[in-house]
């Protein structure tokens, strides 16, 4: 059994079917005892200071041998991954490239090929993957239920974030994950509705701050939507395995994301959006389109280092929540 790391969400069923352990490298970095050390390590190795810290975290996770092989998403995620992949190859790490189609016209065929290639690379039969799909679908369904409980105010935005963001690799063991999930949901269902006045959604890459949810929720707002984390859990209910990863919005263009966000704003009755962007991430440019396309207030928050939310960002967030509160009260 090998540990197979990946740089962003991939069809994890393939890794399970190959009888290896999937490891989301982002999670290795951010849940480590001192994420800062990961950044220092990468910078000592020469990674530029003006590069996104997620990239540095992933780099160090691989270099410190957290995994045996790496699936690098070369298209549809971060262009920085290209250079990372080269660094890994240079260091003798086995890399499987994986790309999401850029144009969606013949996207289905493209993605099918990529998926079959990855199967070949990991030496697994596609039929076996489909067996794992059926098994893991049971968990995905529970995650959709968990997401619903969040909208109802029984599960906090932070809990929602953690469960959905860890569903990229199910912490390497989906059976254990499912057991814990069952327990959690059972407990949460008994809770009374803790929903607060103002309903917020987080969109954009997952935040590097470790207390932003707690801060926002302590100021009288509920986070009822985590855009990409929800996408990471592959919420599409299509029976077709390939189609599901076509429906997955994160690796494609911004317009697909915006359409998804707009639907969720209405369904979840969201009052305001926090667009989280990472310093030095090219996705910041898309903020322009997001602000234009959404017709509820959007605040853009930029994070760089792991750790607590800085004082300035707190002031901005607090004022944003206040503003939404007053609007709501008319």
């Amino acid at each position: 059994m090998k540990k197979i790391g990946f740089t962003t969400t991939i069809p994890v069923e393939i890794v399970f079917a190959s009888k290896n352990i999937p490891v989301d490298l982002n999670n290795v970095f951010i849940t480590s005892k001192s994420p800062y050390k990961f950044l220092e390590y990468a910078e000592d190795d020469g990674l530029p200071r003006n590069t996104c810290n997620w990239i540095k975290g992933i780099y160090t996770a691989v270099m410190k041998s957290s995994v045996d092989e790496v699936i690098a998403v070369t298209q549809g995620d971060c262009s920085n991954t290209h250079a990372l992949m080269e660094l890994f190859e240079n260091a003798g790490v086995k890399v499987h490239p994986f790309g999401y189609p850029f144009g969606l016209d013949d996207g289905y065929e493209y993605l099918r090929n990529e998926i079959l290639n990855l199967c070949k690379g990991l030496d697994v039969d596609f039929d076996e993957v489909l067996e794992y799909k059926d098994r893991i679908d049971i968990i995905r369904k529970k995650l959709r239920h968990l997401d619903k409980l969040t909208v109802q105010g029984k599960i906090s935005g932070f809990e929602n974030h953690i469960w959905l963001v860890t569903s990229t690799d199910f912490n390497g063991d989906f059976i254990k994950y499912e057991n814990e999930l069952d327990k959690f949901i059972k407990e949460a269902e008994k809770r009374s509705n803790t929903g607060k006045k103002v309903r917020l959604g987080f969109i954009g890459v997952p935040t590097i701050f470790d207390d932003i949810y707690q801060f926002v929720e302590s100021k009288g707002a509920s986070v009822v939507f985590n855009e990409v984390q929800r996408q990471f859990s592959i919420p599409s209910t299509s029976d077709d395995f390939i189609q599901r990863y076509i429906d997955y919005t994160y690796p494609y263009d911004i317009f697909k994301r915006v359409a998804d966000i707009k639907t969720q704003i209405v369904e979840r009755k969201i009052d305001g959006i926090i667009h989280y962007v990472q310093s030095f991430c090219y996705r910041q440019i898309q903020d322009v389109i997001i602000k234009k396309s959404l017709d509820i207030p959007v605040i853009t928050i930029e994070g760089n280092d792991p750790g607590n939310v800085d004082a300035r960002t707190k002031i901005r967030l607090e004022s944003f929540i206040e503003m939404l509160c007053e609007r709501k009260n008319g």
Binding site: P297, A311, R312, E326
Partner: protein, 247 residues
């Protein structure tokens, strides 16, 4: 007995004292104010009202965020709220954009039908703030009041960072540029940094407040940038206090 509205800025602490219909304003250096009038009492941090001749009534304060500020004997409101309220009370207007330029922060607040519609604060950059202007004045060995009237032949400054701008200013001096032209250039560069924020929150009417807001040449260049007139609030630097007193 007086009610107090206190705006704890990064450079100055502004205090408004209200008894009846009468409001009096006081300005303190921030560090001096903390040294002389803020005391720790056991678990609590309290404002010591020794600077008053009478007893304090209701005390509302704003400043560097209620997350950072906590006083056992004052209510804290956010800066956005305080400035919005102050402008609303001072102007009697329900639809406007307020540009507040302070020691280290710039804020732009758009008000529609009497409610805050949106706001922007400068992020991680001091090059558009009072502190930057003060440093520039020091380098140029000019009074702020002289800088405030310099609007002709602005020298172009390209740096995007406060610190690098300072060395650029020294470079211009070395090239023999006129000091007043450099001063005008400094004001123009401040205005150029704020203009995009203002343009994002368009309104029919613009008001300006804060220490930097009272500087004529900043307003002059900012008006040029946005192509509309900007009205200074009457008590420009004390707008936050007025907001607190009316909260």
């Amino acid at each position: 007995m007086v009610d107090l509205g206190i705006d704890l800025g990064s450079r100055f602490v502004k205090v408004g004292l209200k008894s009846g219909d009468n409001i009096e304003f006081k300005l303190y250096d921030t560090v001096t104010f903390y040294r002389d009038f803020v005391k720790r009492e056991g678990e609590n941090i309290k404002i010591n009202f020794d600077f008053l001749d009478t007893n304090a009534g209701r005390v509302v304060a704003t400043g560097y965020g209620r997350n950072v500020l906590s006083f056992a004997n004052a209510e804290i409101i956010s800066e956005i709220k305080a400035h919005f309220k102050g402008a609303k009370v001072q102007t009697g207007c329900d639809n406007f954009t307020l540009i507040d330029l302070g020691g280290q922060d710039s804020k732009v607040i758009k008000v529609v039908n009497g409610f805050i519609e949106d706001f922007i604060m400068n992020d991680k950059c001091a090059a558009s703030t009072g502190r930057f202007l003060e440093n520039a004045a020091n380098i140029l060995k000019m009074q702020l009041s002289d800088i405030a009237s310099s609007v002709d032949n602005p020298v172009k400054l390209n740096s995007t960072c406060a610190i690098f701008s300072e060395s650029e200013i020294i470079g211009k001096i070395a090239e023999g540029a006129d000091f007043r032209d450099i001063a005008a250039g400094v004001c123009e560069s401040v205005a150029k940094r704020i203009a995009p924020l203002v343009k994002r929150l368009k309104s029919e009417r613009y008001f300006i407040s804060g220490g930097v807001g009272s500087i004529y040449s900043i307003r002059y260049f900012l008006e040029k940038e946005i192509g509309q007139s900007i009205e200074p609030l009457k008590n420009c630097q004390f707008n936050g206090c007025i907001g607190c007193l009316n909260y």
